[in-house]
């Protein structure tokens, strides 16, 4: 009995003194940590990059240092307090050195050390995103969240569960801001209590952008950088399941147009509405004088068969990148022109997003179609207007889908959603871009519990950077949405010039379709937008 007690005490003592000594053996075994922060570049103001060690061992000991600052951690999960992390990142050194020791059968081993570089390019303090269960048609809980990425504070600024009831579902999507500001925001509420919710001039507004002359309400937004306009796509979306593929889902727009919403006048006007073109994903240039968008040529006849036809033809849908000049003062459009012929390479380009410094345009390139999120082959693609180059960003792409990227306000950081961790759940990743246009190794949004991304069964999508916190509370949003009817937007015609600069009158027709509802559930098929 005594011996057993002594043995247990000795074991406990050994366990408690878990620290490597000078006899630790050097190992060539690669360190495997999750999330992978090895050799990444982090902004100095990011939240602690907590991680867990995946190498199997009985005990772990980690030394993290930057110059004179040294932090020691025991255990598989390496989590920093705020002060520890601040001392590591605020100090003058440009990188954090990390040495991990593992103990197996009483023998300590030092694994290959790694470092984290620190960038003085600070990242915008806030991000927003939609937290969504992975599903096909059903949804129950959809949260719009704001996260302070200098720490771990997350706030749900609106959730559909605050409005919907047991039998009337409400969908929320596409939170978007003007100039990264909390004073200019919009998101869509679909179905029950539906409308586009706008926040500007310190007040909430709810608008129904579906008019008799547009096929749907506004969908994918891009807020004009200098004027009170938002460009939207109109989409008539369908989805279908792949019977046997790693790509589980196919989302296709049967019809697309692009419209401009004039916030002050609560009016929409057409931008591109060619019935043989599927125009989508508007994105403003930094000066607001050019609108980029993507479009695929598709001229199957309109009718009940078009929806089935387009699914059959899905691999022939190649979206090219176009640009269209715009005079924001007179709201006059110039003729569009082709920027990148993705179709020529049997590819499809989507989601053009311009950096605020005007140098870059980042987009997603995939094999076909308009919804890269559900295509494993989707990669990020960069146009560097200064260098005149266009390339797939191999240094940050993964074997899985990349999508919904966004630039930070200083054009130094990119955030996007990626499925690289398990192929299904989208997670937010970041990368730094240097003066040469080269991206650093991507890193995951730090989480308090480093295991979070592995265990969390929701996905994150449509992330946005913000420079200030949202001031409207969830309760205010909920009360407003529940108690306010959407104000119908008026319809205006478009002002456009031809190649010679002459003003032309457009015989306007929205692909010949009117009267589509915003969101319908029809015989098991969800019309998303």
């Amino acid at each position: 009995m005594k011996r057993t007690a002594l043995y247990i005490a000795a074991l406990l003592l050994t366990a408690c003194s878990g620290k490597p000594d000078e006899n630790a053996v050097k190992s060539n075994e690669n360190i495997r940590i999750f999330p992978d922060y090895t050799d990444v570049v982090l902004p100095r103001n990011i939240a602690p990059a907590n991680f867990m060690i995946d190498n199997e061992a009985d005990a772990y000991f980690t030394i993290i240092s930057n110059g004179d600052i040294k932090v020691e951690k025991k255990g598989r999960k390496v989590c920093f307090s705020k002060s520890e992390w601040n001392s590591l990142t605020d100090c003058c050194g440009s990188s954090i050195q990390i040495q991990v020791y593992t103990e197996t059968d009483g023998q300590w081993t030092s694994l290959a050390p790694f470092s984290i570089s620190l960038s003085d390019d600070l990242i915008d303090r806030y991000i927003t995103y939609r937290r969504i269960p992975v599903a096909v048609e059903a949804y129950e809980v959809l949260d719009l969240c704001q996260r302070d990425i200098t720490n771990f504070k997350e706030k749900i600024f609106f959730s559909n569960t605050m409005v919907q009831d047991n039998s009337n579902g409400t969908c929320v999507n596409c939170h978007h801001t003007g100039n990264y500001s909390a004073g200019k925001m919009q998101f869509h509420v679909r179905q029950f209590k539906g409308g586009t919710v706008l926040y500007f001039d310190g007040a909430l507004h709810k608008v129904n952008m579906k008019t008799d002359s547009t096929m749907s309400a506004g969908v994918y937004p891009s807020w004009h950088p200098t004027h009170d306009y938002i460009a939207y796509s109109n989409n008539k979306t369908h989805q279908s399941v792949h019977a046997m593929s790693h790509d589980k889902l196919e989302v296709i727009d049967e019809e697309n147009d692009i419209i401009l919403y004039n916030i002050r006048e609560n009016a929409v006007s057409p931008i591109e509405t060619d019935s043989a073109e599927l125009e989508c994903f508007p994105g403003w240039s930094a000066d607001g004088r050019t609108l980029y968008y993507v479009s695929a040529h598709y001229d199957a006849p309109f009718g009940p068969d078009r929806k089935n036809r387009i699914f059959i033809d899905r691999e022939q849908l190649h979206f090219n990148l176009y640009a269209k000049p715009f005079d924001p003062d007179t709201r006059t459009w110039g003729p569009h022109y082709l920027v990148y012929d993705a179709a020529a390479a049997d590819s499809s380009m989507t989601w053009p997003r311009l950096s605020p410094d005007g140098r870059y345009l980042m987009s997603v390139i995939s094999t076909h179609g308009v919804f890269p999120l559900d295509q494993i082959a989707s990669d990020l693609f960069l146009f560097d207007f200064k260098k005149g180059t266009a390339r797939r960003i191999d240094e940050i792409n993964s074997p899985y889908a990349e999508s919904y990227h966004v630039w930070s306000s200083n054009s130094r950081w990119v955030m996007w959603s990626t499925r690289r961790e398990d192929g299904v759940h989208t997670r937010l990743y970041f990368s730094h871009i240097d003066d040469d246009g080269h991206f650093s190794k991507p890193f995951a949004l730090p989480q308090k519990d480093p295991e979070f991304n592995r265990s969390f069964l929701y996905a994150f999508n449509i992330p946005e950077f913000m420079i200030e916190p949202i001031t409207v509370s969830a309760r205010e949003f909920a009360a407003f949405i529940a108690n306010t009817d959407a104000v119908p937007a008026a319809f205006e015609s478009k002002r456009e010039t031809n190649e010679k600069g002459e003003l032309i009158t457009t015989d306007y027709r929205v692909d010949g379709r009117t009267g589509a509802s915003q969101l319908e559930y029809n015989d098991g098929e969800m019309y998303l937008h």
């Binding site: 599903a135 009831d165 019977a243 899905r314």
Partner: protein
């Protein structure tokens, strides 16, 4: 025998009887409840429960519900909790011996709430409904006891306030109900100061209104209007939700009434007049209600048993359960048939004739479509489908439930997975978890999907979750090596039985929430050149199910193409002779004499029988020709699938 024992004896007896009944008659139902729930030994899982008021109650409830995996143990835990609730009801509410059976009323309501749900278990939307309300009732009693035992008025006020706020966060409406009942009880307590008797109920009523309103700012998961129903079970159908919640509303009203009657109980404690009739009346109400509302549909029970066996890939058991269910009451059916025919003989009027047929409908066995689907699947897996599927009874009886629960929510994942339609299985796992939350079953099927698709990281996500469970950990650990080794996986069960059905090209598809029609369409219209013989067996089975003659000939030719030896099963021969005769063609396929004779006998009997309708003829024809495809073709028609 002491007074305390006498007072609690009815509760102890009732719960002991309940345990025996549950263990002997509801094993599968109890197990299925466990399978549809989830409890993870994980800090984040606990934290997530605090996203709604009463979420902690759900967390605690799901802790207990996991033990229903071993039905006798789960049932024992539940009945112990019910017994505790009953004993505490007697003690806290000071129920006198002469009315001691009143304590079984709350138990009866909690039993009714769980055992009346039937198909509702597939559309529940709370973390736990089985144990959580029982725990909620215990908390309600605890709040009352704490408030009533406080010595000073301000102590009571503090207890009520803390119970309202903290209790609401933990247990939702049950804590508020406790506060409310405590206030009512204090008002009727003659031993208290008049001031306290006024303040306490006013305070408790005010707290019940104010606490949810003030706390709403902490939450984003529900509407403010739903604040006073948090913690109560919900199903994804409004009317059904109201019905599901009714027992709990009655429970709260009854407990509050008991609290109000505390003074009366004290006065009548020793009054033994009318004791026997009163106790008998209470017992009759309690037992009668439980028996009346206890969901007893045999098809539901059979479906559950078949479904659990199918989850274990025990195909022989699936078939046996079906066969037992269809043959169990054959003698009773024969008697009912005799009686019905006697009544029909005397009837000339068509509407009376139809009324009699309808009246007797329930006395004859008819399976639900899901039972047939599971049976066919099991027969296919045993390579007996084309021999046996049309020899067993068939049909499409509707579910006995408030609304028809789509098969998609009941069994899409197991049907699709086993037919090799694994992306559709993935889709319905996701839809189901979004609508009704994650459960062990869904996690397991998601993992199997990922393993079949060689998606190792994705499989790990779900296996990691199951590693954190008590009863599914072993399964999860057994699958982990397979998720990283596709060769080992392809040789292991159940995967090796599924892979042959995955012999088709990718295409876009949507089942429009109709599982059976989707599977039928898949096998009839989507055969590709790499189809295996297993695929063609299924295609031929579905072609015969469809009663579509051109489809049958096409499927038969494909079946013969991929067969290694051509020995046509009896049902297929019957289809050949029947369809050849109907189309007046000779396909040149040899049919045995036994089948030819059987068809001749069938035709002869049809011509001679004097039945006035197909419905009337169905049962006697089944007795004579129920083991033939001819019977299926002529008498199993117009089925509806959900």
């Amino acid at each position: 025998m002491s007074s305390t024992i006498r007072k609690t004896m009815p509760v102890i007896t009732a719960t002991a009887v309940l345990w025996i009944v549950l263990v002997f008659t509801q094993k599968t139902f109890l197990f299925k409840n466990a399978d549809l729930s989830l409890f993870l030994f994980d800090w984040n899982f606990l934290k997530e429960s605090f996203l709604v008021p009463g979420g902690f109650l759900g967390w605690a409830g799901s802790f207990f519900t996991q033990f229903l995996y071993i039905p006798w143990l789960g049932a024992l835990l539940w009945t112990i909790l019910l017994m505790t609730a009953g004993i505490l009801t007697v003690r806290i509410l000071k129920i006198p011996e002469s009315l001691s059976l009143l304590a079984i009323l709350p138990i009866a309501l909690l039993v009714i709430a769980n055992m009346s749900l039937g198909y509702g278990i597939f559309i529940q939307r709370v973390q736990d409904y089985f144990f959580a309300p029982t725990l909620g009732y215990l908390l309600m009693l605890a709040v009352m006891a704490a408030a009533w035992n406080a010595q000073k008025g301000w102590h009571t006020a503090v207890i009520l306030t803390v119970s309202a706020f903290a209790g609401y966060v933990l247990a939702g409406i049950f804590a508020l109900a406790g506060v409310f009942a405590a206030g009512i009880g204090l008002a009727s307590d003659c031993g208290r100061k008049n001031r306290d008797r006024i303040i306490a109920p006013v305070l408790s009523a005010a707290l019940c209104i104010i606490a949810p309103l003030l706390l709403y700012g902490l939450y984003t998961r529900y509407r403010i209007a739903d604040s006073w129903t948090m913690g109560l079970p919900t199903v994804s159908d409004d009317q059904w939700t109201a019905a599901v919640r009714l027992p709990y509303h009655i429970l709260i009203v009854i407990t509050s009434a008991f609290a109000l009657a505390k003074g009366f109980f004290a006065r009548t404690g020793s009054d033994k007049r009318h004791r026997l009739p009163l106790q008998a009346g209470i017992a009759a109400v309690a037992i009668g209600s439980v028996v009346l509302f206890w969901y007893k549909d045999e098809n539901f029970r059979t479906e559950l048993e078949m479904s659990v066996a199918a989850d274990n890939f025990d195909w022989e058991k699936v078939t046996d359960i079906y066969r037992n269910a269809s043959e169990r009451h054959l003698n009773k059916e024969k008697k009912a048939y005799g009686k019905r025919q006697t009544e029909l003989k005397a009837v000339q009027d068509a509407s009376v004739y139809n009324d009699i047929l309808k009246e007797y409908e329930d006395r004859f066995f008819e399976p639900t479509r899901l039972m047939v689907m599971l049976r066919d699947l099991a027969l296919l897996k045993q390579d007996k489908a084309l021999d046996m599927a049309f020899r067993l009874r068939d049909g499409g009886r509707s579910q006995k439930s408030r609304t028809q629960i789509p098969m998609a929510f009941q069994a899409a994942r197991q049907l699709y997975l086993n037919y090799g339609l694994i992306n559709m299985e993935y889709r319905w796992c996701l839809e189901d978890q979004v609508e009704h939350g994650w459960c062990y079953g869904t996690l397991k099927y998601m993992a199997m999907h990922a393993i079949l698709m060689n998606e190792t990281e994705f499989a790990a996500k779900y296996l990691d979750k199951l590693d954190k469970t008590l009863f599914y950990r072993k399964w999860s650990r057994s699958q982990r090596p397979l998720s990283a080794d596709s060769l080992a996986m392809s040789k292991a069960l159940p995967y090796r039985e599924i892979i042959p059905y995955m012999s088709f090209d990718d295409r876009m598809s949507n089942d429009r929430v109709k599982v059976e029609t989707y599977i039928m369409k898949h096998f009839l219209e989507e055969r590709d050149k790499q189809a295996t013989h297993q695929f063609d067996c299924a295609a031929l089975l579905w072609a015969m199910r469809s009663q579509n003659i051109p489809m049958f000939w096409k499927a038969l030719s494909q079946y013969i193409d991929t067969a290694t030896e051509i020995s046509l099963p009896q049902s297929v021969q019957e289809a050949i002779i029947l369809y050849s005769s109907l189309e007046n063609t000779d396909m040149g396929i040899e049919v045995s004499k036994k089948v030819t004779d059987s068809y001749a006998a069938f035709q002869k009997y049809i011509q001679r029988s004097g039945f006035r309708s197909e419905k009337e003829a169905s049962f006697p024809m089944y007795l004579r020709f129920g083991n033939t495809f001819f019977y299926y073709y002529y008498f199993v028609r117009g089925l509806q699938t959900f």
